[in-house]
């Protein structure tokens, strides 16, 4: 056998792969492609909004771009990057498994996801692209000239991919842990993704049914959401948010998980109050995730009693999230913190998540939300709590796993510059957005000529967005640079005690030469040797 393989052979190996590491990396490429396109779209949207009136697009194109930005960022980037890439790559390595439970099913969900990405990107090619926002509320999505079926199929395909991935990785966690790897020895990331998959499995079918009914209404003449024939407009909104609020926790939990692991590694410390964070924090979020969705419908004419009931439960969900954050910050206590790039992203994550979480409280109070709902204030809030926090978690997690995945080290200097730019850019963009929203700027607006006094703040937001974009660009350049010219990485460059660092970088097929024995293993055994 000659040492060099041809490009065709390599490509074939990657396309037909069932290896969880390659599947994970292909998820990474797909989700970052969606992120890059949706990010450029966001910059165009910001350029349009920097002055009142029409600048560079027209309302139709603008609405299609907003639809794409939302759908691609949530369904194409956040969920696949966290539960596809990170979970597929890291989870079997952290529990000491050779692969996932059903490798072929894993490949199927990967290629379903890629189909979804391609379908989403086709938005800009087809004649009547959907302009119904990623929420797709009827009756607009039924009367709109845009192609609602396109939206339905994108959501359904991504949904199938999530369900297949969820079944697969939950089975892996339950049945394929290495000998001696007991439940309370698992990494926080494993617990958090397991929780996220439980939420996925319970709630994704509801979204599937909602978008299917939507297309039935539009193309087959049913009347689920048509009040003139006995249907109900609010039914869709309830079904949609019954999934889409828990989807926030599907994104939130893995990002908490990866940040826990990064912080423990670089603070050289145990997770503070580990069992409580698992049972009270992660478990509490799972239990409460399904009973708060009406806070998206405070202004939608729901009965008053349910708006109030869900207001109380929404405010109370700050408790399990608070337990997680206390554990995270507690992990710093008596640590020996080393500020490498992944840790910087974790520190940035704590502060961004704090701002995002706290600005959730005025939203949760129904009476205050009557003003804030559907303004830029809520846009800023969810960008803090899931968009930039999630991006920080994914980028930080990728920096953390980069030596393991590629066997190369990233440039620390470029990493730090990228971090500084992203952190400043995020705050400049989204903190200013709070102010604009509070002054009454509604979301999904193409033009704000009747509120011209907001123009100067909008300009600051646009500058911030470009700084953020530059930061992400520096990060991408750093990764590509490291892939080609990076220094060779050792097996455990961060000195982590987690199981994934005991194998070679990158791990060979089957991950370990022989299955590791975890009887005396502890993923957070810092400071005890």
């Amino acid at each position: 056998m000659s040492g060099k393989k041809g490009f065709g052979t390599t490509l074939k190996e990657w396309i037909f792969t069932t290896d969880h590491k390659r599947v994970g990396i292909l998820y990474l490429i797909g989700s970052f492609a969606a992120f890059a396109v949706a990010g450029v779209i966001a910059l165009i949207i910001r350029m349009e909004l920097s002055t009142p009136g029409a600048d560079i697009t027209d309302p139709n194109t603008y609405n299609v771009m907003l639809y794409f930005h939302g759908a691609a960022m949530i369904l194409g980037f956040q969920i696949p990057a966290l539960t596809g890439f990170l979970a597929n790559y890291l989870l079997p390595l952290q529990i000491g498994a050779k692969d996932v439970a059903f490798p072929r099913l894993n490949a199927l969900s990967l290629w379903l996801f890629w189909m979804g990405i391609v379908l989403a990107l086709l938005t800009f090619v087809i004649p009547n692209p959907p302009d119904i926002m990623w929420t797709g509320y009827p009756p607009y999505s039924i009367v709109s000239p845009g192609n609602t079926a396109f939206y339905t199929f994108t959501v359904l395909i991504m949904g199938f991919a999530s369900i297949a991935g969820g079944v697969n990785l939950l089975t892996t966690i339950i049945y394929m842990r290495a000998p001696g790897m007991r439940w309370f020895k698992l990494n926080m990331f494993v617990w958090c993704t397991a929780a996220a998959f439980i939420i996925q499995l319970v709630f994704v079918p509801v979204l599937g049914s909602a978008v299917t009914m939507l297309s039935f209404d539009k193309y087959l003449g049913t009347h689920f959401f048509d009040p003139s024939a006995g249907g109900d407009v609010l039914l869709y909104q309830n079904l949609f948010w019954f999934y889409s609020h828990p989807a926030v926790y599907v994104i939130l939990l893995p990002m908490l998980g990866i940040m826990f692991d990064v912080i423990a590694t670089f603070a050289r410390n145990r997770i503070f109050n580990y069992k409580v964070a698992v049972l009270g924090g992660v478990g509490g979020i799972v239990l409460m995730s399904g009973e708060v969705w009406v806070h998206h419908l405070y202004t939608s004419g729901m009965p008053d009693w349910i708006r109030i009931g869900m207001m109380v439960s929404t405010i109370l969900i700050s408790i399990p999230v608070g337990i997680c954050v206390i554990s995270m910050v507690g992990t710093l206590y008596r640590g020996a913190i080393q500020y490498k790039t992944p840790m910087l992203y974790a520190v940035g994550f704590i502060f961004l998540f704090l701002i995002g979480g706290l600005t959730g409280i005025p939203h949760a109070v129904a009476a205050l939300d009557l003003h804030l709902q559907d303004t830029h204030f809520v846009v800023a809030h969810f960008h803090y709590v899931m968009a930039v926090s999630g991006t920080f978690a994914v980028i930080g997690g990728t920096y953390y796993l980069f030596p393991k995945m590629s066997g190369k080290m990233c440039n620390e200097g470029l990493g730090k510059i990228g971090f500084a730019l992203t952190f400043i850019g995020s705050n400049l963009t989204f903190f200013t957005m709070f102010l604009v929203g509070l002054d009454g700027m509604p979301r999904r607006y193409f033009d704000y000529s009747h509120m011209p006094e907001l123009a100067s703040l909008h300009q600051i937001i646009t500058y911030g967005a470009f700084i953020l974009g530059l930061g992400v660009l520096v990060t991408f350049i750093n990764w590509i640079h490291a892939l080609i010219w990076g220094k060779k990485a050792v097996d455990n460059p961060w000195g982590s005690k987690s199981l994934e660092w005991t194998t070679t970088s990158p791990p060979g097929p089957g991950n370990w030469a022989e299955v590791p024995d975890c009887t005396n293993f502890d993923p957070y055994a810092y400071g005890e040797d």
Partner: protein
């Protein structure tokens, strides 16, 4: 069998927690039947909004600043001082473990339920229009706001109201979901086909205010705006009389 038992106990736990916390929060709520039930004695929702907003802002800024200072202190104090330094994790006893859950949970819970009770009282103000409200019907359409006054006078995109009178809007929609947003009166509510929703506000000063659509409704969503024109009582009556006269001519 076991799974069913676990399922039942989780379900019962959830129901208990929700009922208990909702009823506990309701202890602090003042109901509309009570005399002077409004928060801070304010019967104007927009003014109540400002009070509660200030309170919640103080609350979250206090939490945020305390939390950030602690985090920054830990980040600086426990940085790595020499090559190969390891952390020395604190050994938690069982009591301190439980304490670290219960104390923050009770602080959070007390704060949460306090805010919930106040928010609930203000909510009652928002959702209980005064007896003497002036009732106007609204039908939204792509892309206009169509108002009908009690005497059949109609107006589009311009809501003229007398100063000092609570205005109650009964809303529905001809086509898709819209949301009437009055930023200066701190209120919005969706209007949709097949349902009638309502909201009320109190115009206190004469002038012109922005009215705009907050629920995505198509190409012209951001152009679906109008004005709330708050007029002196006399001006409003004159205008109303003129409109009625026009209506009479049109009908004759």
């Amino acid at each position: 069998m076991l799974i069913r038992r676990i399922y039942m106990s989780v379900f019962l736990l959830l129901v208990t927690v929700c009922t208990a916390s909702t009823s506990f929060a309701s202890l602090g709520v003042r109901e509309p039947e009570e005399e002077g039930y409004h928060l801070w004695g304010v019967s104007d929702p927009a003014e109540g909004f400002h009070h509660l907003w200030e309170e919640v802002m103080i609350d979250i800024f206090a939490i945020g600043i305390i939390f950030s200072l602690i985090t920054i202190y830990l980040l600086i104090k426990y940085r790595r001082r020499y090559e190969g330094q390891e952390g020395s994790p604190p050994k938690l006893t069982k009591i301190s473990r439980v304490g670290w859950v219960l104390i923050p949970v009770f602080i959070f819970m007390a704060d949460d339920l306090f805010i919930a009770a106040e928010g609930w009282t203000l909510w009652n103000t928002y959702r209980t229009p005064p007896e003497n409200s002036y009732e106007i019907e609204l039908e939204s359409a792509m892309w206009s706001w169509n108002f009908t006054y009690p005497d059949g006078v109609e107006a589009m995109n311009e809501l003229r109201v007398p100063v000092g009178t609570p205005i109650l809007l009964r809303m529905t929609s001809r086509d898709v979901v819209h949301s009437l947003f009055l930023p200066d009166f701190k209120v919005k509510e969706d209007s949709m086909p097949g349902r009638v929703t309502y909201m009320w506000f109190l115009p206190k000063d004469a002038g012109e205010y922005v009215m705009t659509c907050a629920e995505f409704c198509g190409v012209m969503h951001s152009m679906m705006h109008g004005k709330v024109i708050v007029m002196e009582e006399n001006d409003f009556n004159t205008w109303m009389a003129e409109e009625k006269a026009k209506l009479g001519k049109g009908g004759a």
